[in-house]
């Protein structure tokens, strides 16, 4: 990355001064028009500049040699194949092309119903289950990447005792001994698990506690909503979990709540939100976001105000005062202008019962409690927010460590938790656990915790075992295995049965027994649908909040200028559980576009004051603990807030995830899980070249992304700047179909679900951090993030860019071997077996969507990874150009199906991988020749525009512009 000296901050301030309207920029250096930055960008673009200076003679020699080498690679006969048929063919259609089974995956604190595609018994791809309320047909990056975890070669494959290979039988013998010792009381026997989402496991927990009355079951999650539950406890006297109805809310105020892309139920929330963002289909909602560090939800806001995370509570108090609520504490001003608070309060007041105030899980309990009061005051409770009563919390990790240090724990089973890595630093888990006589770790990987335990037991992947789950909204579903366990692993239910000494130890029977109320027909129906029919529920609970919280409102400590450290879960790695997943590591983070590592997010103002640039190393010191990591200058960050993401710095994650980034858990303590005041920021020596993709694939053209305001739109302003200019080329495509795609930027929340879905569907390789730095990331659909306005409070727009499938494609004209051509449906196809790798096409592509295999990126040797590959898509080798194909394998499948039945392909029959994954249905795909197709209708929209239309490439992929629904009273002060 280019280095910017202290003076280089001045130019962007100067450039922006006095500017009105939209001018979009992608990186701060971009805005400064820094010469060294342009040089950096030019050098990472495919160019000869990287090759040492070469004369004509040398070039020809190299050319001749490479031709000869290329010829030699053709030597070798095709591999001889054998066909291994079934012994007994199972029921169904096992030889059919692909079969989908419904199951449930628990990811990042939520259980989501999914459909898993299997090819002849191999699970290859995950899609959302439209019938399951937590998915509504969509998936996020983590769900998409779960399939890679199944085939991960670093998974634990065998039990181990003290590091040596052991057997389940030897473990069972040990358990038998322990069981007889604990038979009478069970004191000293403990289990530590992650949060329990499975009713069967819940029942097994109860049975286990009954069997060993003196035993205790602890629960530990590094990222949970305990502050929200404590807030509900303060307000209602008992814990409730909130469920929001975004589709019914006209005005939403989010106080650091990343509703759309973080936390449980975000897929459902994103869909609920998107339903209210289509100006053509009805009234748009208005979203206000107040936050310290930018989030996906913040980028979707109509008004986003950056305020230090420590002062969010004060903002809510000011709003409550403006709403006329009584008994509120008197505070120093939060820093948000009076006009904004007043307008927001008026908006909420005007939409009583149709508004919503949401507080993020990172905020302290009293802010949550006040939000409950405000929602009740505004009559929103029971309408846009419903309360789900939950059980009291189980004892946590702190109690376990305390007891262990006191010598009260003799045997500990750790089920799918990794406290050695992700516990707060002041608990000192390793030292506490060292006092326990027998420790047993059960998990998918032999991770940090496994290495300090006596026994390690390998867990089955959720796609390998029977289970069940309850989502946050209460819907229950069964999880069925897609494949027999690949290794010598067991499911959690089988392990519990072993610990209990049950006679029945088969996972399927245990789960079936839990649901014995269902007869066989209902059971099979539940498996097929992927979700159980709704229970007959009573009237939803409508608890009345008490205003006691206001009397004990904690006054803010410290000075306003003090720096605050914020911890946030990584958008993809979550708490670090998914660190060994290459797809997730390499997927650019939604806002920073960072891959393979984390950074301290620092506001531009603070960076300018301290003379810091992106990549400079700093040491963060808080309460005597220190961590050194690089800086990322983050537009839109509150000035006093510094954010670090959890989930990095794993030491024993596997070959992908170990030693990537720095572990922010080192700074975390029990009393400051999300926010710590009194941070010291010290410059350290050194500079790191962060692997970010924000400067890659730049399109040099005017207005690549467009937005408008709702008022302008209603006044009839159209987005398309000019009618399609005439062309000298003849229109050649002539088939029955004309495939096209539209992407609605008003719905795109930038979650990157599409990017990972595409990677899973199209066998896209992972290239690693060094290759990403060189600009060689292979994603076929990238999501560009554009900023507009001042770096202190920018507007953000996400723009997914797949191949445009231009009707007049510039790439086709320059290919010397005809490896990229049009087919009769108007698709711009890439023929891998013709491609010789000249890269002319990529250089001539104005949208920069072509990806080249500079090295042998596809892993052809690791056996287990072969299982994941989609057999309908070629695995590309070194030296071949590739790009988005509009999922041609899916188009051809539909084509063959329709052709076999002598009919046309119906609208909606072809769904591309990105379209299927999108939680907000931002992507529409279909036949442009069909006047009734959805994609054709979206093209009629007033918001419709073409990317780089002035080049007259006539892309088949087009966009619907972003619209912001500003409060009419907040003209200048938006």
């Amino acid at each position: 990355m280019s280095s910017m000296n202290d003076d280089s901050w001045a130019p962007w301030r100067a450039r922006l001064a006095g500017q009105r309207g939209h001018r979009y920029w992608r990186a701060l250096e971009d805005l400064a028009a820094d010469a060294s930055f342009r040089e950096h960008v030019a050098s990472t673009m495919p160019a000869w500049s990287q090759v040492a200076s070469m004369d004509r003679r040398g070039f020809l020699k190299l050319l001749g040699a490479s031709l000869a080498m290329a010829g030699l690679t053709g030597c070798g006969r095709p591999p001889e194949d054998s066909i291994v048929p079934w012994l007994r063919m199972p029921e169904g259609q096992p030889d059919a092309d692909a079969i989908f089974y419904a199951t449930t995956l628990c990811m990042a604190g939520e259980a989501v119903g999914v459909l898993v595609q299997t090819h002849q018994g191999r699970p290859t791809k995950i899609e959302g289950n439209p019938q399951h309320p937590a998915s509504a047909g969509a998936t996020g990056p983590q769900l998409q990447a779960a399939i890679l975890d199944l085939w991960d070669p670093d998974r634990s494959m065998t039990p181990r005792r003290l590091g040596d290979i052991g057997t389940w039988d030897a473990f069972a013998a040990d358990v038998g001994q322990w069981r007889s010792r604990f038979a009478s009381h069970g004191a000293g026997l403990r289990i530590l698990s992650g949060s329990i989402r499975s009713p069967t496991l819940q029942a097994q927990r109860k049975a286990w506690l009954q069997r060993f009355p003196g035993a205790k079951w602890h629960v530990h999650e590094a990222i949970d909503d305990r502050q929200a539950l404590a807030g509900a406890q303060q307000a209602f006297g008992r814990p409730y979990r909130c469920r929001y109805r975004l589709e019914k809310a006209d005005v939403v105020l989010s106080l650091e709540a990343d509703l759309l892309d973080g936390g449980p139920a975000h897929l459902a929330y994103a869909w609920g939100f998107a339903q209210r963002r289509d100006p053509e289909r009805g009234t748009m909602n208005r979203l206000y976001v107040v936050e310290g560090t930018p989030s996906a939800t913040g980028t979707m806001a109509d008004h986003r105000w950056a305020i230090s995370s420590a002062r969010i509570g004060d903002v809510l108090v000011e709003v409550a005062v403006a709403l006329g609520m009584k008994g509120l504490p008197t505070l120093t001003p939060s820093g948000l202008s009076h006009a904004r608070i007043a307008a927001l309060a008026r908006d909420l007041q005007a939409h009583r019962g149709r508004g919503l105030v949401v507080v993020g899980a990172c905020q302290p309990p009293h802010v949550h409690a006040l939000a409950h009061l405000v929602n009740a005051w505004l009559d929103n409770a029971g309408k846009t927010v419903v309360y789900i009563s939950i059980d009291d919390a189980l004892p946590g990790l702190a109690e376990l460590c305390r007891d262990a240090r006191a010598g009260q724990v003799e045997t500990l089973f750790i089920l799918q938790a990794n406290p050695v890595y992700d516990a707060p630093a002041d608990l000192d888990v390793s030292a506490s656990f060292a006092k326990i006589r027998h420790t047993v770790h059960y998990g998918l990987y032999r991770d940090e915790t496994a290495h300090i335990c006596e026994w390690h037991l390998p867990a089955s992947h959720p796609l390998e075992c029977w289970s069940d789950a309850q989502s946050c909204d209460g819907s229950r579903s069964i999880a069925q295995p897609l494949i027999a366990p690949l290794y010598d692993t067991r499911s959690p239910h089988e392990l519990l049965a072993l610990l209990l000494g049950d006679i029945e130890q088969r996972g399927q029977a245990i789960v079936r027994n839990q649901w014995k109320a269902l007869d066989d027909t209902a059971w099979i129906a539940a498996l097929r649908a992927g979700v159980l029919p709704e229970m007959e529920s009573d009237e939803p609970d409508l608890p009345v909040p008490a205003d006691e919280v206001l009397r004990s409102w904690p006054l803010r400590q410290g000075q306003a200028t003090e720096l605050v450290l914020l911890w946030r879960p990584d958008p993809f790695l979550h708490d670090g559980t998914y660190a060994n997943n290459g797809w997730l590591q390499e997927c650019p983070r939604p806002l920073t576009q960072l891959t393979w590592g984390n950074a301290a997010l620092v506001s531009p103002a603070l960076a300018a004051r301290r003379g810091l640039n992106t990549g400079d190393l700093v040491t963060l010191k808080v309460r005597g603990r220190a961590l050194t990591l690089p800086v990322w200058v983050m537009p839109g960050q509150a000035e006093s807030d510094i954010t670090v993401h959890l989930g990095y710095g794993r030491t024993l994650a596997g070959r992908v995830g170990s030693e990537v980034g720095a572990s922010a858990y080192i700074l975390r303590t029990q009393d400051a899980l999300w926010m710590a005041a009194g941070l010291e920021l010290v410059r350290a020596d050194g500079h790191v070249d962060l692997a970010s993709t924000q400067s890659h694939d730049r399109m040099e053209g005017s207005e690549s992304v467009r937005s408008s305001s709702l008022t302008a739109l209603l006044a009839g302003a159209a987005m398309e700047s000019a009618p399609t200019p005439p062309s000298l080329y003849e229109a050649t495509q002539s088939g029955d179909y004309a495939w096209g795609m539209t992407i609605d930027l008003n719905a795109c929340i930038g979650c990157k679900g599409c990017t990972v879905a595409c990677q899973a569907e199209n066998n896209i390789p992972v290239v690693g951090a060094d290759e990403v730095r060189r600009g060689h990331a292979m994603h076929w659909i990238r999501v560009d993030r554009y900023y507009a306005g001042s770096p202190d409070a920018p507007e953000t727009v996400h723009q997914p860019v797949p191949c445009m499938h231009c009707e007049h494609a510039p790439c086709e004209l320059v290919c010397p071997v005809g490896a990229t051509v049009h087919d009769s449906d108007g698709l711009n196809v890439q023929v891998y077996n013709r491609c010789v790798g000249t890269r002319f096409c990529s250089n001539n592509c104005p949208y920069k969507v072509r990806r080249f295999n500079f090295l042998q990126y596809a892993d052809l040797t690791t056996e287990s990874l072969k299982g994941q590959r989609n057999p309908d898509v070629t695995v590309r080798n070194r030296g071949v150009m590739e790009k988005c194909t509009y999922c041609i394998q899916r188009i051809e499948k539909a084509h063959i199906q329709a052709d076999r039945e002598n009919r046309a392909i119906a609208d909606g029959e072809v769904v591309t991988a990105c379209q299927a994954a999108c939680p907000t249905r931002a992507i529409q795909f279909g036949n442009l020749k069909d006047s009734g197709s959805k994609v054709r209708r979206t093209r009629m929209s007033q918001r419709h525009y073409t990317l780089l239309a002035e080049l007259n490439t006539r892309p088949r992929t087009t966009y619907l512009a972003r619209v912001r629904n500003r409060h009419p009273d907040l003209g200048e002060d938006a």
């Binding site: 048929p85 079934w86 092309d97 051509v821 087919d823 077996n833 041609i888």
Partner: protein
């Protein structure tokens, strides 16, 4: 002017040229041998069990779909499970040494590995079901298997060979009801083929797209 090269030098030169020629020819032959298909056209392939299509199809008259069950619905024609073989061979010839591997597989539960006879490169996505649905007979690509005691490849399966038919499908089409008929022969292939292209709505433009086979 004196001779530059002696008589002897001329001989050496000739010998060197000859040796070069031999080297190049043998190199080409070796290269051809190295890169040849695992089994050549019309060469039979050794299988774990010497299965005879002639006996099963020609003599007994078993339909193709009895064993290749998914040929009408899937890209793969499907290979019969051993249970399919055992419908007859649990009783018939079960004591013959020829069938020993089959019986062993059935009893031990370790499936048979048949060697592939008709192989396409991995970047070609051939779909059986659509060819069958559009009236391409089994015999068009696989030959008269009812006359093959041991299975062999009868067509080159090269891209040029595929394209011959994709350019002009009429000559290889037959009514759907005769797709599995090994002995079917038309009177006027061209007229019938042209009619079938119409009836089966075969889009000739699409047939020549790269994307129809390569993905």
């Amino acid at each position: 002017m004196a001779q530059v090269f002696s008589r002897r030098a001329g001989l050496y030169l000739q010998l060197v040229l000859l040796a070069l020629l031999v080297l190049v020819v043998s190199g080409v032959i070796a290269w051809r041998a190295m890169t040849a298909e695992p089994n050549g056209m019309n060469e039979t392939v050794d299988q774990p069990v010497p299965f005879s299509h002639k006996h099963h199809v020609g003599d007994i008259g078993i339909d193709c779909r009895y064993c290749h069950a998914s040929v009408e619905t899937s890209a793969y024609a499907g290979m019969p499970s051993i249970a399919t073989c055992m419908t007859c061979h649990s009783q018939l010839f079960s004591d013959q040494p020829m069938l020993r591997p089959l019986i062993d597989a059935w009893q031990s539960g370790v499936p048979l590995a048949w060697r592939r006879v008709n192989q396409l490169p991995d970047f070609v996505y051939f779909d059986h079901s659509i060819h069958v649905a559009k009236g391409v007979g089994c015999a068009s690509c696989h030959g008269r298997v009812d006359r093959m005691p041991l299975m062999r490849r009868t067509q080159p399966l090269s891209m040029a060979w595929c394209l011959d038919c994709h350019r002009d499908p009429s000559l290889q089409l037959r009514p759907r009801e005769h797709v599995f008929d090994m002995a079917w022969a038309p009177h006027d292939t061209r007229a019938l083929g042209d009619a079938l292209v119409e009836t089966y709505r075969i889009d000739r433009r699409k047939l020549m797209d790269c994307s129809i086979c390569h993905r």
